[in-house]
């Protein structure tokens, strides 16, 4: 009986744990996706006037341009900046210098030999002029320690978390990069495959330490307004065939598709979570009712079986209250024991119980692991937060809740049987066989 009651209680405490897990995951999902959608919107707005230019032999990855770490790195002459600025309708040209450092690795596949650079870190040189860093998203936004790069900073570096581990340095330390010393002023939190490798510094410092002065890797060209974009793009394509040009419309469509996908995902998840909450509530009500009935019928059976004992107790001087409190105490004790059993079962089996009883959380219209959201990292947007797995688990509050519930159910379930026992006529009870 205690085991049966324990199972019932395990359901009651596991479901809230599943709900808590789902809510946590849902909250995280909503926060992440809201942020993602906002950033998409910013990207879209920026994309309206942005033309990305990179050497045509460069190997681009994702919606953001730039050579893949370890891919071939071609450089342009810095003089192209002033040439591009002279095109009608161009508002600003933002040059980037990007170079990965690491060790070369040779891999043989399908009879062919490939040589890859396995990067330890990627130097990203950015122009630290006030007009550019204030108007465009050049620097990372998620600084987790120290400060960001500032206008005209030189001899300083902004590392990623990966970089701090690789170099073994922290804020204020000197770090030697390609033979030159830099002061670490901040740490950014980007954790993607590409962004997690990046250390930011002034573009002139980057050119200097790599012995590539006067060279740049890619350019972002911003038009005065959207009407100039196509004209500027075609001019660049015709005059600079060595450049690969990505126009706004192409990028816009890609970003909008991605934003639509994120919004759909969020709606799916929200709908499923709402359904989960409803089901969970119904299941808790059923489990609570079942537990109360188990206590009630067990105590009714017990008091009936012990009728003669009740008669004896009353004959030797127990008051109605003594008898009632005795049976209430037993009911509560039994319920608390069942609560302990329930906590043990819930502790071990909460994920299984929630998986059996709660609807599966759907993120993309398919069924995911119940009680959790599988980690999902946005593959294309730099710095997009990944979703962490959240598993249903019992926390101390839920255990307290379980004990409180057991106490309440024990008291409620045994109230009527105990009251009935206390009203039993001692004479009748003593005659009971």
């Amino acid at each position: 009986m205690v085991i049966a009651l324990g199972f019932s209680m395990a359901i009651m405490i596991s479901i809230p744990s599943g709900i808590v897990a789902n809510q946590t995951a849902a909250q995280r999902l909503t926060e992440n996706y809201d942020e993602l959608i906002d950033r998409m919107q910013e990207e879209i707005n920026a994309a309206l006037t942005l033309i990305e230019c990179s050497p045509s032999s460069g190997f681009t990855f994702g919606p953001m341009p730039g050579p893949m770490p370890g891919g071939s790195e071609n450089f342009l002459d810095e003089s192209i900046i002033s040439d591009l600025e002279s095109i009608q309708g161009v508002k600003d040209v933002v040059p980037f210098f990007e170079k990965s450092e690491g060790t070369n690795q040779t891999v043989t596949r399908f009879g062919r030999t490939f040589t890859f650079l396995r990067p330890d870190y990627t130097i990203l040189g950015v122009p630290l002029t006030s007009s550019l860093i204030n108007n465009y998203s050049i620097l990372p936004t998620n600084i987790i320690e120290g400060r960001n790069l500032r206008e005209e900073d030189s001899g300083v570096v902004l590392l990623s978390l990966n970089n701090t581990g690789y170099f073994g340095v922290g804020i204020g330390d000197e770090v030697n990069i390609l033979g030159s010393d830099f002061t670490v002023v901040g740490v950014h939190g980007a954790s993607g495959f590409r962004e997690g490798m990046m250390l930011y510094m002034n573009i002139s410092d980057a050119q200097k330490i790599t012995d590539l002065e006067g060279k740049i890797s890619r350019l972002d060209v911003y038009a005065e307004d959207q009407s100039y974009v196509d004209g500027i793009a075609s001019t660049i394509e015709s005059e600079y065939p060595e450049l690969s040009v990505t126009t706004a419309s192409e990028r816009l469509s890609r970003l909008q598709n991605m934003q639509d996908m994120y919004e759909d995902t969020l709606q799916n998840a929200e709908a499923t979570i709402s359904q989960t909450q409803t089901t969970a509530f119904q299941e808790i009500v059923i489990a609570t009712a079942a537990s109360s009935l188990i206590v009630l019928f067990t105590m009714l059976y017990t008091t009936r079986e012990r009728t003669k004992e009740i008669g004896t107790l009353k004959a030797i001087g127990f008051s109605n209250w003594n008898v009632m409190s005795q049976f209430m105490f037993e009911g509560i004790l039994m319920s608390l024991m069942a609560g302990v059993v329930g906590i043990v079962i819930g502790y071990v089996g909460a994920p299984t119980i929630t998986s059996l009883l709660l609807p599966h959380i759907s993120m993309f219209g398919t069924q995911g692991r119940p009680g959790s959201f599988q980690g999902y990292t946005n593959p294309g947007v730099p710095g997009a937060p990944g979703l962490q797995v959240t598993t249903a688990a019992l926390d101390p509050q839920l255990i307290l809740f379980a004990f409180g519930l057991a106490l309440l159910l024990g008291a409620l379930g045994s109230l009527y049987p105990a009251w009935r026992a206390s009203r039993t006529s001692p004479m009748e009870a003593l005659r009971y066989e």
């Binding site: 009353k314 001087g317 109605n320 004479m427």
Partner: protein
């Protein structure tokens, strides 16, 4: 003259069952003095247990009154009756009615729960009573590990827990073998002599009833006027029940005729 502990006047009990009226007791007048050992005899259905229930505050009469220790218990409200049962009455049942999940000493302690006695005092009193009934060695044993006679002795100790004014024994020897019956009746007699316990014993066993001071007879709900003197009366007055010669309190056998006392 001894103090009157229990008195009934015109006690009547009428039950209505399925449209039939059954008169279980009809005008019972009974007087029990302090330190009396009375047996009430009668055939099955004569109203013995009904009378005992009235005397023990387990049931109320249709008419008449029961005065216990100077208080008319028929007028006491239901909610206060438990106090009278706890402090003034000790019950001994035919089927012992010990709680199976408690050991001997805990069973004896049970009526003292809810009294002003501390836990240690209760335990000490329970041990003292178990010693009195000769079960000191078995205080930790649960009922199923005790013989029927031993269980009844624990029940007797439990009945004495709160030093009641009156002990009511309902067929206390009914479930025992002849040896145990004799032991229990002797124990009740000993308690009556040594402790001055007032005992009313209901039985249909003539031999057991004869061990009391007085034997009363109940028939069809009426107490017969005929009354017999039991052997216990003589023992209590230090006379051999057989030859009526003088005996000493510690004598096991009569020094004159050799009757086992």
């Amino acid at each position: 003259m001894s103090e009157l502990i229990l008195k009934t006047e015109g006690l009547e009990k009428v039950f209505k069952m399925g449209g039939r009226t059954i008169r279980a007791l009809s005008g019972v007048n009974l007087q029990v003095k302090k330190s009396d050992f009375i047996s009430i005899m009668g055939p099955s259905g004569s109203g013995k247990t009904t009378l005992l229930n009235m005397l023990g505050c387990l049931d109320k009469p249709t008419h008449g009154k029961v005065v216990l220790d100077g208080e008319d218990i028929t007028k006491v409200p239901e909610r206060r009756l438990y106090k009278i049962r706890r402090h003034k009455i000790g019950f001994i049942f035919q089927t012992f009615n010990l709680l199976p999940y408690l050991n001997a000493v805990e069973n004896v302690e049970l009526p003292m729960e809810g009294t002003k006695k501390s836990r240690n005092e209760r335990r000490a009193r329970a041990r003292e009573l178990l010693k009195l009934v000769g079960l000191s060695e078995r205080e930790g044993h649960r009922p199923h590990r005790l013989s029927a006679g031993e269980q009844q002795r624990v029940a007797i100790a439990r009945a004495l827990a709160n030093n009641p004014a009156l002990v009511l024994a309902d067929e206390a020897t009914g479930n025992l073998d002849s040896k145990s019956k004799y032991e229990i009746v002797r124990l009740l007699g000993k308690l009556n002599i040594d402790q001055g316990t007032t005992i009313v014993m209901v039985t249909h066993d003539n031999h057991m009833a004869s061990h009391a001071d007085r034997m009363l007879f109940l028939k069809d709900g009426k107490l017969l006027k005929e009354e017999k003197q039991g052997t216990h009366f003589l023992k209590k007055n230090l006379m051999c029940p057989k030859c009526h010669s003088r005996i000493q309190p510690d004598d096991v056998r009569c020094p004159r005729c050799g009757k086992k006392l």
